[in-house]
Symmetry: C2
Subunit: 375 residues, 2 copies
């Protein structure tokens, strides 16, 4: 195996793949990166217990030669050391592997040798049915995931809640995350009529958001029994799917409300942020919201020995009953308010023990539910 490669292209691919690989994998070979040199391209693969990333570096890019494969082959090499080496090399890289899996990496007057693993021992990629897939604009998909992933359960007691639920149905994709106290939902129209659902680990979602954040490309989504795969031109991300039945979402979302108020999102966010200053020390970041005179809302925390803080904000509008007093987890409210990007939002209440619903004004593509805290 032998190739010459542009330093930047190799470095970027190795670092992107290498950063998901754990140094302390169960088998030493799994803490490595697999490199496959073929006539027309170089493939770089790394994995961890949740996911596999595959990057393809084509021979030519923008008309200039990126990689020249002199002798095809494959090798697995420590992700940590390969990443450190390529970061520190100054120039075009000459990469060779001998019959004993000894790797030599040269650049200018610098020569490094690493002991590799036989690529035959590296696990195969999951097999995917490539006849059916869902194409999505990467910007839309990433936005939907950012609007939901923060709301997954951090607790492993119900593993299925630690992932984001993907539900394809009636020409729509709905993404949902919940920890059973709060819920985030985002939905968009898609161009394919498929019916299927799966739950994707939040770790995968976070990696996908980082990996595909800057592309304006289409991402094709492939789903099999145990895996989901996201593919853009040069990148494939395979992830395992979480096992278990996801809660029935529609049943959880209240349809009628006693009161709906409209507020400036940023002003409310700042107010809740201030209120959690003292609440966080004590119980569940508990923040009290109280409607006043049908035109204002008082935001306060219970306070501690150290002190307390409270403030009053004006509503932009109100519908329904004009009296309400409710306590919520301020941290959850802050996260929902940050996920919403619109200037004005609505909060709907059905009473002090019923969940609060947050939505952008006039849009149905996103909602957040937060159950109150007992006072």
């Amino acid at each position: 195996m032998e190739f010459i490669i542009n330093h930047t292209a190799f470095k970027n691919a190795v670092l992107e793949v290498g950063k998901i690989v754990s140094e302390k994998a169960t088998l030493p070979i799994l803490s490595g990166i697999k490199i496959i040199a073929e006539k027309d391209n170089l493939t770089i693969i790394g994995s961890n217990s949740d996911l596999v990333i595959e990057k393809i570096i084509p021979t030519f890019s923008n008309g200039s030669k990126v990689v020249e494969v002199l002798q095809p082959g494959s090798i697995v090499i420590s992700a940590k050391y390969l990443s450190e080496i390529v970061k520190k090399l100054p120039n075009e890289i000459y990469f060779t592997v001998n019959e004993n899996n000894r790797v030599t990496i040269q650049s200018d007057n610098i020569s490094s040798r690493l002991n590799g693993f036989s690529a035959l021992e590296y696990p195969n990629l999951p097999l995917m049915d490539d006849t059916q897939y869902i194409p999505m604009a990467s910007k839309v998909l990433i936005e939907m995931l950012k609007q939901t992933v923060f709301a997954v359960s951090k607790n492993e007691t119900r593993p299925v809640l630690t992932g984001v639920y993907f539900h394809f149905s009636k020409g729509q994709l709905t993404c949902v995350a919940t920890n059973s106290i709060r819920l985030a939902l985002s939905k968009r129209v898609i161009n394919v009529r498929v019916n299927c659902s799966c739950v994707v680990p939040s770790h995968t979602i976070n990696e996908l958001s980082k990996l595909m954040n800057n592309t304006s490309e289409t991402i094709d989504i492939f789903i099999s029994d145990h895996y989901i795969m996201f593919e853009s031109t040069m990148t494939k991300l395979y992830s395992r799917i979480l096992v278990g039945t996801y809660p029935h979402i529609l049943r959880l979302i209240p349809q009628e409300f006693q009161t709906t108020i409209t507020m400036e999102r940023k002003q409310l966010l700042n107010g809740i942020d201030r209120a959690t200053l003292f609440s966080s020390v004590t119980n569940n970041n508990k923040v009290y919201l109280e409607l006043q005179e049908g035109s204002k809302i008082k935001i306060r925390s219970h306070g501690t020995e150290l002190g307390q803080i409270e403030e009053t904000q004006y509503l932009k509008g109100i519908q329904g009953e004009r009296e309400l007093s409710i306590a919520v987890d301020g941290g959850y409210l802050i996260e929902a308010l940050k996920a919403l990007k619109e200037d004005e939002i609505s909060l709907s209440f059905s009473g002090p023990m019923k969940p609060i619903l947050l939505k952008p004004i006039g849009l149905d593509d996103q909602l957040h539910l937060i159950s109150p805290v007992r006072t």
Copy 2:
């Protein structure tokens, strides 16, 4: 006690003072910030076991009113909560304290209450002799400290080595730091003829560098038996002095060398950085340097089971013997090379067991010594 203050001025001063205050101080009052409101200014004081910072906010700044003291007084208030509150307030702050040390902080429709401590219980500032001081350009002082502080001992067995030695003599200030394996020295001419020395904790040096980094002002240095104080227009930093006798420096610096080589600093730095890649895993970051053919230097680490790296760099010049093989701690060499800012530097050797001396070419204001590692 009652005052109205510009939000930004108050926030900046509180955060700057507050960040040195420990939440877990020995006495609860020491985790507080002392605020003194007088007719003409507001003073804010915070401290930890090494140092005290005092910031003064004058009534007027650049012609506009910054603070209006309606009723003089003083109070001590939790550094953590005061910092968090002022960060989150939007606008001009109205600050009052009642007779029970209850503090109310208001801004727009936001009101926060905190329980304060009586200012009488807060320790007094160290008494300094203000008749003699050394004025220095802050830029010069901060530069000297950055060139040395990294070399202090991280080990408490000889506490005096954990600080930077200030030696004023013959119209010069010399700053030195050493951990007995490597040493950094920086010296400059000063305008005052004083003779005195003291050792300042590295923690103080780091805080001073942050606090005064952006001023182009003069810093006046005051020294008493147990304290050193650095004063700029609005800020005073008091620090305790470390007790103990500092090693006799001049004896440590070799005066004659077998070989002196000249090199490009950045290129050498990158080479050593690469070489430590594998050395760091094993012993003392050991990096081998070997002169070759009187014109090149080979840089390599011993390597591990995982791999190895080596490279050859050209010298810019050489004087003296043309053969040398030496091993040093690559980490120490990297730090010395980073402290030097010049493009070209010299390295002087007196044999494989004698310290290496690094200097900028043609300048005597800075030097670094590094003892070799036994091979």
